[in-house]
Symmetry: C2
Subunit: 84 residues, 2 copies
């Protein structure tokens, strides 16, 4: 079994109101030294096979078709043997 | 400047309807070899200082106070020099 961890972030040029809200909330709790806060998504997919090349191809497809919005989001992922 | 990447995931014992919905959506697109899909959050915080020990302490506090819900979520993070 393989485990893919996919990280989806807004592109740098896209404004992130959720991140801004979290930044303000943290500042109101007394954390004043924050330069920037950005929110992202994480998807963990476990795959019923062991072929890493196949997994890489499939995960890329899944990101493009469903998980990420390529207009405003970037993604990257890592794939490892489950249990490693 | 330091960059902290925080990953927040639901605890294993907590059911994840959003992950299940994504799993079904991927299956309906033809990806049948999925064992499990779980969704998580990612927060990227840039800090206006260089002291890694201080950053580690502060990020831990932020997670406990605001970012994660310790009843149902786990978190881990990594801190690195921005630009590295």
């Amino acid at each position: 079994m393989l485990k893919a961890e996919i990280y989806i972030t807004l592109k740098k040029t896209v404004s992130d109101p959720q991140g801004l809200t979290v930044k303000h909330a943290l500042e109101s709790l007394g954390y004043k030294d924050l330069a920037d806060v950005r929110m992202g998504k994480m998807v963990v997919i476990k795959l019923n096979y062991e072929d890493k090349n196949r997994a890489e191809k499939k995960i890329n497809e899944m990101c493009k078709k469903l998980l990420a919005n390529p207009i405003i989001e970037d993604y990257h992922f890592k794939i490892e043997k489950e249990g490693a």
